[in-house]
Symmetry: C2
């Protein structure tokens, strides 16, 4: 595809664990765990990403403390700022980079979500985005009045209705509804105000919203669910998907094509949906240096934590198992009610060969990362983009703050040199920087 | 009372309508309604208040658009940023002033509220506060899945349980729970994490919160309800009350004493509850100039808006009445389910004498404001403080931005000269600046 026919590669700077994308990354040499509630720490992250022309920061989130196993509290990072509070503060310390917050549709009210996203979009001059997730753990359910999580299918039906309500509320006021006419005393033209009056399976919301239409029309909608229901939802509603792509190029191309087909199948254009797989680079001066950095990350993770993480992913208690015994497990994907994509990928691995528990969790950890030199990372990223396996990546970092610092210093210039990445922002809004059209809104003539 | 035995006068800078505390204040000469979604506008407000050593900004809020009557949309300001998004952004543009957001306990989840207040308290280094209100209109109910508002008594029972859950979540982690020990791999001491496990009439919340204990222990709790149930709740839980005080000194002293007695009656100290009545000054160069400024505010309000506001306060449709007819109304306070304090004060006025509708709404408008010169305002404020009718005031402004600019330029220096007001902040946290003790938390030994 000729370059002018396609948007340049887009990058997002992802963050869940403040110290990097592993539960014990806070132990790494450059980590500063004492600062995980300081805004300065996150300002460095956002400003560094902005210096690297990242389209957006991308704050993942969960609504609970991981205390299912004792090791989670003792060894893991269970505290972080609420993403929205964080991004609103960061909006004043950055000027171009997008501000994407994860918000669960399972335990929120659409009026609140529409309102805070619209407000952030105004205060940031068009940089807000929403990463829609459904909440997938019983721990989250218990913080919101339930004993156990909603069923998977119910969560996704609720998510789709939730998106419909939120976008409808954003369209409450036409863009030209406000008159500000001191002489006549007319503040607004009330023919340009729309009452949503939604009554659905999960939500009854009259509206209108008490915030004007956002500068982007609608803040950009990301979606991260990878199950069948998640992919279907993304095809119908999302503007960017955050995926876990297969390591092999063909598999990644197939997933990319499938998402594009989901969009066109829903009557949209393939360009309306950006496919942004996760990328967790470990950047070494040499390949061997990258390997050594990975071994250090693995070494910082106690066996008990690895066992307990595996227990969590499978929703089973393996905490007392011997890591060196052969792992046998009775998979039941139809009745599994946490994150299905991880569960299914473990089931697929065990169909291929035998694993001890240690081999399994070490392999899972290894699979999460891509190891290489700056040159090999840049070549791989450009290739995935050029071969239509990705429109870009949500980059997450094995350790922070060094992981992002290194990426911007060593990989970004190489991507620019390869002609796949922009050295300057295309515009002032996230929509402009992702090349997404501004939605007209459901009441547009 | 000797000065060293009492905290200096405290001021809050209140804001609901962005243009000043009247629905048509946006028409005033200095108003800039085009900027009501721009952060710069609110940054000027917060920074000016900080220059005037205000203890806090105080953002009022409602969760709906006032479209019960057509005039509300045509003539009123129905749009504003969501308070929390706003205050988080302002935390980066100020350094000392408190950040108080109104949050309804009626249509929120305590886990979300605890989390965002704790996060703001961390990111602002101890400046967050929460103005607890219950939602009092059917319009709000309809944005959150209900046909009509919760009953008054139910709202207040829910509010009290809500406060209990939120403060319990703030205490999830002891202040010294975090170890950050790279060598041992211990991030936290799990004996210092507490599971709330709350199961009550309205809320089931297991916890713990995924944010460390806030710098202030608990962000400061304001409460604004003035009904019997509201006063009782304030006595038990609030650290500052936002009240509407009678204009006469004796009545104001009685209300002040009553709130203090509510606190001591609940086993607390009278100093644990600051009484901060609303003050809406109109500042003139002369008394006649202040009168002229008031007449201008009244002139900017169409009769229809005034009728409709009265209809709103009484939850009745008076929109087609002749403003010059005698007003007769059948009050039924027991069954009234909006804001009871306003309703009751109108009933009390009509017991005193006859009013036409015009006389009534003009009198109500006049009663909201205090007119005077800088000298008379400063003398009155100091007197109310010294006579134990107030610990300070939530000042709201008839027009903005000029109302706050004038207050800080002309009244603040006079209060300092009178020896009742501080020229410098006492500390870095809102608690320090209000002279409130840091709560130990429910799990403290």
């Amino acid at each position: 595809m000729a370059f002018e026919q396609r948007q340049p590669l887009a990058l997002g700077a992802g963050l869940f664990y403040p110290g990097g994308e592993h539960v014990t990354a806070w132990r790494s040499a450059d980590a500063v765990p004492e600062q995980y509630l300081d805004l300065d720490y996150y300002a460095h992250f956002a400003q560094t990403a902005e210096a690297g022309t990242f389209a957006t920061v991308f704050i993942a989130d969960e609504l609970y403390v991981w205390d299912r196993f004792a090791s989670g509290i003792s060894h893991g990072v269970n505290v972080r700022p609420e993403p929205f509070t964080l991004l609103s503060a960061l909006s004043q310390l950055t000027s171009k980079i997008g501000l994407a917050a994860t918000i669960s549709s399972t335990y929120n009210e659409p009026y609140h979500v529409a309102r805070k996203l619209a407000s952030l979009d105004h205060l940031s001059h068009g940089r807000a985005a929403w990463n829609l997730v459904t909440s997938a753990s019983d721990e989250e359910a218990r913080n919101f009045g339930r004993d156990s999580n909603l069923d998977h299918a119910v969560r996704y039906r609720r998510a789709e209705e939730f998106v419909d309500v939120v976008t409808g509320l954003w369209d409450s006021w036409d863009g030209d509804a406000f008159l500000y006419n001191r002489a006549s005393g007319l503040f607004a033209d009330r023919t340009k105000l729309h009452v949503l009056d939604h009554h659905g399976e999960f939500h009854s919301v009259r509206g209108p919203l008490n915030v004007p239409r956002p500068p982007q029309g609608h803040p950009v909608l990301f979606q991260a669910g990878a199950s069948e229901a998640g992919r279907a939802l993304a095809g119908r509603t999302a503007e960017a998907v955050f995926t876990i792509s297969p390591n092999d190029l063909t598999g990644a191309q197939q997933l990319y094509s499938e998402y594009k087909a989901r969009a066109t199948g829903a009557g949209r254009s393939a360009d309306d949906l950006r496919v942004l797989p996760a990328l967790l680079p470990i950047i070494g001066r040499t390949e061997e240096d990258a390997e050594e950095r990975f071994r250090e990350i693995a070494r910082l993770t106690p066996d008990q934590v690895s066992l307990d993480l595996l227990s969590h992913h499978l929703d089973a208690d393996l905490s007392d198992r011997d890591p060196d015994e052969k792992f046998v497990f009775d998979f039941d994907p139809e009745n599994f009610n946490q994150v299905r994509s991880v569960y299914s990928s473990i089931a697929a691995m065990l169909e291929q060969r035998d694993y001890t528990l240690r081999e399994l969790y070490n392999t899972l950890l290894r699979q999460r990362f891509r190891l290489g030199t700056p040159d090999s990372h840049a070549a791989w990223i450009a290739d995935r983009y050029e071969q239509h396996a990705a429109d870009g990546f949500i980059v997450m970092f094995s350790t922070l703050p060094d992981g992002l610092d290194d990426f911007v210093e060593h990989i970004v210039p190489r991507l620019i040199d390869r002609g796949v990445y922009r050295a300057e922002y295309a515009g002032d809004t996230l929509r402009e920087n992702l090349g997404l059209e501004r939605p007209a809104g459901r009441y547009a003539a």
